[in-house]
C-alpha cells in the first residue's frame, strides 16, 4: 500500500519526494511525491500537462529535477544525469512511439548496441537469435526473431520493446499509453505479460488515459494535477468517478454525451467499395448522424476511411455524396466533393509538427483565402483561424505556436479545425481521441455533437469501445476488410461487437 503524501515508504525501490521542476520560470512540478515498490504496478494518471511525462523524464535521466527532498532508487541516489545511466541502473521506458528500427529483425532490435561477438569480433548471430528467442519465450510471445520489426503488428512490436528492456535487466518499466494502438485481444496479452513481470518482482509504472485499464491492471495509483501529487493510494479504494474528480478537480458526470438528433436526408452512399485492405463494403449515412466503425487493428477501418476520402484508389464500387456520384483519385477530389478526413496519426499524417497552428489549420482550405493568382488574403485567414481557436478552445501561446509544442488534445483540436475549415458535408474521424486526456476528450465529444447537430454526416472510427457505443447512432463492425455486423444504437453491446469483429 502506498503511503500518504509526504511520508516516506521504507519498502519503496523508487522514492521521490518534493520534486520541483520549472521550464523558463514556469513551474511544471511542485513538490511532487512518487514512490513504487518491487512487484507493484503503479498507475500514473493525470490530464495532459499535469506533469506525468516531465516526472518520468526525470526518472529516466532525460532531464534533471531542480530540487527534491529525497530521490532514491534501490537505496542509492536516483537523479540520473543521462538516460544511459538510468538504463544501466535498471530503469527502462517504453514510449508511446516505439523506438525500434523497422528494417532490422526482431533479434537485431532486441540486441541492439550489445550484440554478442564471436572470437573474430564479428556479431555472433546464432547467440543473438538464441538470446532474443529466450526472452520472447519468457514473455510467452512466439514471435519469429528473423522477421523485420516493421512487418509486425503494433502489439508485437511492443513485446519486442519489452523484451529489449528485459535484456537490459530492467527492474523498473515505465509504459506510456501502451494500449493506445492495441486491439482488445492484444491488450489482454499485454496485461498477462505485465502481470508476469510483476510476479518477477519488477516495478511497473503504467501511464494511461483509459481508466478502465487501471482498475483491471494496477495495484496503486498516483494522480498528478497541475504539477502536484493530488492523490496516492491503492486502486481498490477508488471508483472511476472519484478518480476522474481527482484528475480534473471536478466531477465529469456524463463521459460520453449522446446527442439525439432527428436524422437528416441521406448524405453518403458507399456501394460495393473495394480498395487496398477493403473488400466490398456498402453502407449509407445521413446528415446529423454519427456512424461508428468498430473492428480490431487491421480490420480495414482506416483503409476504408482513406478510400472514401480519395487517399487510396478504389478498385471497385461507387461513392455518392448527396446523391451525386464522385470520382476520387486524390485527396483533393474528396475535399472537392465535400469530404474531410481527420487522420488517426496526427504526427505522420495530420499536422506538420514543426509548422505553426496557423499554417497547419488553413493548409487544406487555403484556396478559400486566396485571390485569383494564389495570393493569400492573410487577414481573412487569420480571422478564420482565430475563430476556430476560440470555438474549439485550443490552448496555445498563439496561432504562431508550433504544433509540436501542443498537447495531444490541442493538436487533435487543430486537426479537427483544419478539416472543418473546408465546411465539409461528410467528415471521417479516425481515432479522434487517441492520446487525448479526459478533459480534452469531453471537449472533443462536445464538438463532434455540435457538428452532428449542424447536419454533418460523421463517420467515427474508434478502437475505444465505450466511446463508440456512447456517441454513435449506428455501429458497423469490420473484420478482414469487410463489414461483418451492423447494429442500431441500443442493440449494440461490447460483447456483440467483439463477436463480429473476431469473426
Amino acid at each position: 500500500m502506498a503511503p500518504a503524501p509526504g511520508t516516506p515508504d521504507p519498502d519503496a525501490i523508487l522514492d521521490l519526494r518534493g520534486v520541483d521542476k520549472a521550464f523558463n520560470g514556469v513551474s511544471v512540478l511542485e513538490g511532487v511525491d512518487f514512490s513504487l515498490r518491487a512487484g507493484e504496478i503503479m498507475a500514473l494518471i493525470g490530464e495532459n500537462g499535469a506533469g506525468k511525462s516531465t516526472l518520468m523524464r526525470i526518472v529516466t535521466g532525460i532531464i534533471t529535477a531542480d530540487r527534491a527532498t529525497t530521490m532514491t532508487w534501490r537505496g542509492g541516489p536516483a537523479g540520473f544525469a543521462t538516460p544511459r545511466r538510468a538504463m544501466d541502473a535498471g530503469i527502462a521506458m517504453i514510449h508511446q512511439e516505439l523506438n525500434l528500427l523497422p528494417h532490422l529483425t526482431v533479434a537485431e532490435n532486441i540486441g541492439l548496441g550489445r550484440e554478442p561477438l564471436t572470437r573474430l569480433g564479428l556479431i555472433d548471430r546464432a547467440r543473438l537469435r538464441r538470446d532474443a528467442a529466450a526472452l520472447l519465450a519468457r514473455l510467452r510471445q512466439p514471435i519469429d526473431v528473423d522477421r523485420p520489426v516493421g512487418t509486425l503488428s503494433v502489439g508485437q512490436q511492443q513485446m519486442v520493446e519489452i523484451a529489449r528492456a528485459l535484456s537490459l535487466d530492467a527492474r523498473l518499466l515505465i509504459m506510456d499509453e501502451p494500449t493506445d494502438a492495441l486491439t482488445d485481444v492484444e491488450t489482454a496479452v499485454l496485461f498477462e505479460v505485465i502481470r508476469g513481470l510483476k510476479a518477477e518482482g519488477k516495478g511497473i509504472v503504467y501511464i494511461s488515459h483509459r481508466l478502465g485499464e487501471i482498475f483491471t491492471l494496477c495495484d496503486s495509483v498516483t494522480v498528478l494535477r497541475d504539477g502536484r501529487t493530488v492523490h496516492r493510494g491503492p486502486v481498490a479504494e477508488l471508483d472511476e468517478a472519484t478518480l476522474i474528480r481527482h484528475m480534473v478537480g471536478r466531477a465529469i458526470t456524463d463521459q460520453y454525451p449522446y446527442l439525439a438528433c432527428p436524422p437528416g436526408p441521406e448524405r453518403l452512399a458507399v456501394e460495393g467499395v473495394s480498395a487496398e485492405g477493403v473488400r466490398d463494403v456498402s453502407f449509407t449515412a445521413a446528415g446529423g448522424e454519427i456512424v461508428g466503425f468498430a473492428g480490431l487493428m487491421g480490420a480495414g477501418r482506416t483503409e476504408l476511411g482513406k478510400a472514401i476520402f480519395g487517399a487510396s484508389p478504389l478498385r471497385a464500387g461507387r461513392i455518392r455524396v448527396d446523391g451525386q456520384e464522385v470520382r476520387l483519385r486524390h485527396p483533393r477530389d474528396g475535399i472537392t466533393a465535400g469530404i474531410a478526413y481527420v487522420p488517426e496519426d496526427r504526427k505522420a499524417e495530420g499536422l506538420i509538427q514543426p509548422h505553426s497552428i496557423r499554417t497547419n489549420m488553413s493548409l487544406a482550405a487555403l484556396a478559400r483565402f486566396c485571390r485569383p493568382g494564389g495570393v493569400i488574403r492573410r487577414a481573412d485567414e487569420r480571422a478564420a483561424v482565430d475563430r476556430f481557436m476560440a470555438a474549439f478552445a485550443v490552448r496555445a501561446r498563439g496561432i504562431g505556436a508550433e504544433v509540436r509544442t501542443l498537447s495531444g488534445g490541442n493538436q487533435q483540436k487543430v486537426s479537427l479545425a483544419k478539416a472543418l475549415m473546408l465546411s465539409p458535408r461528410v467528415v471521417i474521424l479516425d481515432e479522434p481521441t487517441r492520446g487525448v486526456d479526459v478533459g480534452a476528450r469531453r471537449e472533443i465529444y462536445g464538438l463532434i455533437n455540435e457538428l452532428k447537430a449542424g447536419g454533418l454526416c460523421i463517420l467515427l472510427m474508434s478502437s475505444d469501445m465505450p466511446e463508440l457505443l456512447g456517441l454513435s447512432d449506428r455501429i458497423l463492425v469490420m473484420a478482414g476488410g469487410r463489414l461483418t455486423g451492423r447494429f442500431a444504437r441500443g442493440e449494440a453491446t461490447q460483447e456483440a461487437i467483439m463477436a463480429r469483429a473476431v469473426g
Binding site: 483533393r332 505522420a348 494564389g374
Partner: protein
Amino acid sequence: MNAPLQVLSRNKPLIGLIVLMTAVAVMSPSFLTVDNLLNILRQTSINAVIAVGMTYVILSGGIDLSVGSVLALCGAVCAWLVAGDVSVWLAISLTLLLGAGLGAMNGAVVGFGGVQPFVATLVAMTMLRGATLVFTDGRPITTGTGAGADAFWSVGGGYVAGIPVPVVIAALVFTVFGLVLTRTRFGRYTYAVGGNEVVARLSGIRVGVQKVAIYGVAGLLAALAGVILTARLESAQPTAGAGYELDAIAAVVVGGTSLAGGRGTLFGTLVGALIIGVLNNALNLMDVSSYYQMIAKGAVILLAVLADGRRSQ
C-alpha cells in the same frame, strides 16, 4: 528587449554577417568603400539568384545539383541566339523558358518518377553538362558584334542609377520570390511539401505537380544567372557554372534553412549569400591564395551546419 535586438537574436546568420563585416573593416581599410561594397554585391548577385531557386528546392525537402549545368547550357543557348541576331528580349525569354523547362523535367523525375532528388539532379547535372559541350563543340560562344550585343552586355555589365544591373536583378528576384514564398498558396505548399509530404497530400496538395513547379523555379533562376554571366563576359563558356551548385547550397544552409526541408527563409539565404560574398572579397583583399579560400569557405559552411544541428536538437 527592443525590436532590432529581437530580430538579431532570432537571426544568427545576420549576426554572423555583421561580425564578419566588422572584423574585415578593421583589418582592411579598403573594405568599407562604396566601390568595394558594390563590387561584393555584383559578385554575389549570380550566386544569390541561383540560391533563391535552391531555397525553394531545399524548403521542399529536395536538392538541385544541376543548376550549374543548367546555367551553362542556357548561357550558351542565349549567346548563340544573341549572336544570331535574335532580339535581346526574345533571346532572354527563350533562355528562361528553356531553364524552367529543364528544371521542370527534374521536378517530374523527382515528383512523379519517385527518384531521390540527389540522384535525379546529379544525373541531370552530368547530362546537361554533356549537352552543353555538344552544343558548343567545347568552345566558348561569343555574343558577337550584332545589333543586340551591346544591349545584351548591359544586362551583366551595365548600371542603373549607379547600381550594377545584376544587383538590381538579384534584388528584384529576392523581392518577387520572397513575396511568392510568404504571401501565396504556392509558397505555403512549398513549405508544406518539405514539412511533411504525407500531410501535404492528405491536405489536397498535388505533391508531384508542386515539385515540377518548384524545380522549374530553380531552373528558371539558374538560366537567369546564366544570362547575367554570359552578358557580362560577352561569351558563354562550356564549363561555366561548374561548382556553382555548392555555393548556392552553401548560401541556403548558412542562411539557416534546414536541409531536411520545411523550415527556412529567403532572407536567410540573402544573408548567407552575402556572408560567402564578403568572405571571398575579404580573402582577396588580404591577398589570401584562392587555394586557402576554398578551405575558409568550407569552414564557414561547417560552422553554419553545426549551429543548425544544435538548434534543431
